[in-house]
Subunit: 155 residues, 2 copies
C-alpha cells in the first residue's frame, strides 16, 4: 500500500504528512514569524505549491527575483508590497508578483496572514535590496512606512 | 497604469478580472455542472492554476493523462476517485493525482465541490476510458457505484 493520494486538512492550517518548516535560515535575510509548508513539489510537476503563514505583526523578507509568484490568501488579512505599491489583502484575494518586482507580505497586528504561493521548481535565488534600492523604495509615499528590513526599532 | 497585481475575491468564489468559463466543450466528454476559472496562467510560470466548481450532484469527467494534478479543495465537500479508490474530501484537503491514474470528482448532493487544481502548462490531452477500462473499473468494489460516464439513468 503506497501513501494515500489524500492528505486531510488538520486544525490550524496544517495538513497530514506535511511538515511545518522554517521560512528561511535564521539570519540569512530579514523576516519575522513566518512558517513554510510545501504542499506539492518534487518531480511530478514543474512547480512547487507552498503555504506560508505570517504570524500577527510578522513579515516576509523584502526581496525580488526573476521568477514570478502566484499567490492566494488563504487565512487572515494583512498587506503586501508589489513593485511600488502597497495593497491590503484578505481571504481568497489573488496576488501576482511579476519578475523583479520588490515584494513583502505583512500580517495585520491582530491576525495571521496565510497564503498559498506557487513558483517554478527551477528558479533563481531571491535578491535582497541594497542601499540604493532601499533609498529608492523609501522615496515612494506609502512604501517608506511599510517596508521592514530588520533595522526597525521595535515599537 | 497597468493592471493591478491584486484581484480581489468576489462573493460566491469568483474573482475580479477572472472569467467563469465552461469546463469543457459540451458533448466532448461526460460531465455535469462544472465551471472553470483560470486564476494564473500564461507565460509567467510553467504551471496553470485553475479553480473548478462542481455544482451539487455534479461530476467532472472520468479521465486520465500523463500529467499530474495537484488539488486543494476550497469549497464544500464531495468525493473523488483516484486510481482504484474513492475518497471523501472536504475543505482544504489535498489530493495528488499521479500520472495515468483514473480520476473523477463528484460533489455531494447538498453542497458544491470547489477545488484549486494545478497543472503543468505543457501537458498531454486527457484520455477517456474505453470499454475495457470501464469494465476493469466496474470490477472494483466501491468504484463501480461511484463513477459517472454519462450513460446513467437520472434517478
Amino acid at each position: 500500500m503506497t501513501d494515500s493520494p489524500i492528505r486531510k486538512a488538520l486544525p490550524d492550517f496544517r495538513w497530514e504528512r506535511v511538515e511545518t518548516l522554517r521560512y528561511k535560515a535564521e539570519g540569512s535575510a530579514p523576516f519575522r514569524d513566518v512558517t513554510r509548508q510545501v504542499l506539492f513539489g518534487g518531480d511530478a510537476m514543474r512547480c512547487e505549491w507552498r503555504y506560508f503563514e505570517v504570524a500577527p505583526g510578522g513579515y516576509s523578507t523584502l526581496e525580488r527575483h526573476e521568477h514570478a509568484h502566484a499567490v492566494m490568501i488563504l487565512r487572515g488579512h494583512g498587506a503586501c508590497l508589489v513593485g511600488d505599491r502597497v495593497h491590503t489583502v484578505g481571504e481568497r484575494d489573488l496576488v501576482a508578483v511579476p519578475p523583479l518586482a520588490w515584494h513583502q507580505f505583512r500580517a495585520d497586528p491582530d491576525a495571521p496572514l496565510g497564503f498559498l504561493c506557487l513558483v517554478d521548481t527551477e528558479r533563481d535565488r531571491p535578491q535582497l535590496p541594497g542601499p540604493d534600492d532601499l533609498a529608492a523604495l523609501r522615496r515612494i509615499p506609502g512604501v517608506a512606512d511599510f517596508i521592514r528590513t530588520g533595522d526597525e526599532t521595535d515599537g
